[in-house]
């Protein structure tokens, strides 16, 4: 089991969401984040263009079984890409164990549901 955390552009979120659904990844968490970095973004306030170092991005966090790892990574890499600086980063972590609270199942079985369509 792996955890994928991706920092992506807000404007690419809808594309990433669709690509993940198409790849069979049907549940994940996301939240808005602010980052600081060398790169800046243009922001217009009262007619003046500011180079802002506070960069608005969205963090997507997904836990998948090993067999789904590559297609999940590829789905994000392809759908979040613009080619410009600031497309974001993607991190992969090992997951020690997973428990489903309702059934108390553990291990990879806790990540997907055989009867329903949840496939992570």
């Amino acid at each position: 089991m792996k955890k994928i955390e991706a920092i992506i552009r807000k404007s690419k979120f809808e594309d990433v969401k669709r690509a993940l659904y198409d790849a069979g990844i049907e549940w994940f968490s996301y939240w808005d984040i602010t980052g600081l970095g060398k790169s800046t973004e243009d922001q217009v306030v009262r007619g003046q263009v500011f180079k802002s170092g506070y960069i608005q991005r969205r963090m997507v966090s997904i836990v998948v079984r090993d067999l789904n790892l590559d297609k999940t990574i590829n789905a994000i890499l392809d759908s979040a890409w613009t080619g410009e600086t600031g497309d974001g980063k993607l991190f992969v972590y090992d997951i020690e164990n997973t428990y489903r609270i309702r059934t108390k199942e553990s291990g990879p079985e806790a990540l997907y549901n055989k009867d329903e369509s949840t496939k992570n």
Partner: protein, 455 residues
Amino acid sequence: MKKNKITLAALLALLSATVSAQTAAVATPKIDSGDTAWMIVAIAFVLLMSIPGLALFYGGLVRRKNVLNVFMQVFILVAVISIEWVVLGYSNAFSSNSIEALKPYIGGFDWAFLSNIGISDLSPYFISHSQPAADGTLIGTIPHIVFIMFQCMFAVITPALIIGAFAERINFKGFLIFSLLWSIFIYNPVAHWVWSGDGWLFKLGALDFAGGTVVHINAGVAAIVTAIMLGKRRDYKGHAIPAHNITYVVMGAGLLWVGWFGFNAGSGLAADGLAANALMVTHIAAAAAALTWALLDWFLDKRPTVVGISTGAVAGLVAITPAAGFVGIAGALIIGAVVSLICFFMVAYVKPKLGYDDSLDAFGVHGIGGIIGAVLTGVLATPAIQAYAGAVYGNFHQLWVQLIAVGATIIFSGVGTFVLFIITDKLVGLRVTDKHEAVGLDETQHGETAYTNFD
């Protein structure tokens, strides 16, 4: 020298005698400071309804990615329609047309750019307070400019109400052009029909104290036409999309309620008993409607909701608008209760059944509420307030006239909106791309975000 002086004195004496004789015959018409002071306050109240009242009410109901777009739409209409109003709107709505055949339908251009209107001119329009002018005709007691600005605020808020129907999916440029065309070709003529001395509905005897037909039915019908023609939002699945900030909705509904005191109690154009009655029935109808909606929520969906009571209050304010100068406290209670019952039914059952996406229920609340108010005015108008009786006092003719006014407004606004929508859509396009709709209109139309994580 001396002789000359005497002659001059005699002349002056003669002159002053003639002048005082004239003054005795016709008193110089005077501005009533009490009426004028109240009306200037009322103008500010009605502006408060648009910004920030309506902006907050609608802005809270949309998703967080579209809140600035809604604020911007309301704000820019205040700017654009106010200018349109002094350039030609007021003249088209309230002046007399020199072409005889057009007189009942649209005003002329005599007052374009407010030319020929001086600061000491008195309003040619009045309800309860009037006085004879130098030429013997009756005129009002407030400056003409005050009347123009009061009406300006009505012209501003009417197209802003339609925003509720197409929120979250309209191209900003298309929206702006459509709203301007709509004000010129739909609002101004309908205001002329109902409120100008030449208007055909006015002459027919249609009662619309503060804009049930001109403002609410007019905007409400335009709302459903635009909602259907623009299509559903990409995420609309047959039920409302959750409001992103219900505290805004409450603040907006509260400011609308406050502002409505200016809207309705100002529509008598005087500070008198009629204004007091209008204020009272406005308040009581809003209270009855808010309570009715909350109780409906409570009984039918287990719990009274905050969005529900806010919507109910607005529905009550809409419905009492045409009736405020004609009904008493019983009428206000009936109108308030009935409007919430019917509007609740419309937005909770009829809208999902028919499947149109009226984002913020501009038709369900303003259109339906306006129709109920205009029709009930014909039923409940009481001679105890002004000399108008409704069907409950045996005057079924009034109800018939109200139905004609409602029908004419629905047809004109419906067909006119349909035509203007097609023209604007062909010119610049009205729907945003699916991508832009997904990202949100704040980012794509204005390059700003409402809520940031900045320090």
